[in-house]
Amino acid sequence: MKSIAELEEIRKKTLEKISLRTNADGIRVVVGMATCGIAAGARPVMNAFVEEINKRSLNNVSVSMTGCIGVCKLEPVVEVIDKDGNKTTYVKMTAEKAARVVVEHIVNGQVCLDLTIGAVEK
């Protein structure tokens, strides 16, 4: 059975890692969570981002959500915003595509052009 006591353990372990943390010039991942996004599977996409980011110990990436991005038929939609405010909009996301965006875009700085809104709307 899970108990609150386990949180104490997690706290101790996390404290050791946390001192290395920098939050400056972070990348923001914003997942569209309007009704249409949720229905189209935004929740597993968001979870995949959180998981991949943790797996690679990326300390300067935050994940959050927003409502309507305005393109229902392309949901789930995810925006990746770099430290200079440049925005890349990814559409029709899945958990697998999320993993790719983390590796190629967030880690290696290569935008996954084929997944962006520009590529799809052509």
Partner: protein
């Protein structure tokens, strides 16, 4: 929506958009009348009565009302199609309360779904919001209060030293929360709802 947990995510997303700082979620089972109930209450900016009248009607949900979205009429439909009830009340600058019930044994009742995932998605995205989840059935009560979790995470001294601050959306915490919630709900609703084994 495929299950209740997705409806919950959707409705609470509205609460967050409405600048709520506290969101209370109450899921309860009333065995006597075969009902599963859901109450989502927030302290957001609320809606005035004109808007409220329109909000549960999908046909008035046009561009101008998109900020509330289709989520409310969809939840209403999910409740009504299994002989449940739906109600919403809201007061400007006080908050909004959404109430829905579902007949447990009705063939069209949605399964409860992955409430743990919904909660952790919400907490990840909005770590400063105070979320309270309360689940109740004949088998007992389960409560998750994010303020309590934050207190535990910040240690005995309440995190007065900056060093001791651990955010609730730290991955290890989020993962623990998801399991803790789902296990808690399983204890409360296992065997009570046919989709969850006891």
């Amino acid at each position: 929506m495929r299950d209740l947990s997705l409806h919950i995510l959707d409705i609470v997303q509205n609460s967050l958009k409405a600048n709520s700082t506290i969101v209370k979620l109450h899921i309860f089972e009333k065995a006597e009348c075969n009902k599963l109930g859901l109450i989502i209450e927030d302290n957001g900016i609320g809606m005035d009565s004109d808007f409220l009248k329109k909000v549960d009607d999908p046909f008035t949900t046009t561009r101008t009302t998109r900020k509330i979205g289709l989520g409310i009429p969809m939840l209403k439909e999910s409740a009504l199609k299994c002989e449940g009830e739906f109600n919403i009340c809201s007061e400007k600058n006080i908050g909004t309360k959404v109430f829905a019930t579902f007949s447990i044994d009705h063939i069209d009742r949605l399964p409860i779904g992955d409430v743990g995932s919904t909660m952790t998605a919400l907490i990840t995205a909005s770590p400063d919001t105070h979320f309270i989840l309360l689940a109740e059935s004949v088998k007992g009560t389960f409560i998750l209060d994010t303020e309590e979790i934050k207190k535990t995470l910040n240690g005995e001294d309440g995190g007065s030293e900056m060093q001791n601050l651990i955010s609730i959306n730290e991955f290890a915490v989020i993962q623990w929360l998801k399991e803790y919630i789902n296990e808690g709900l399983k204890n409360i609703f296992g065997g009570v709802l046919n989709e969850i084994d006891s």
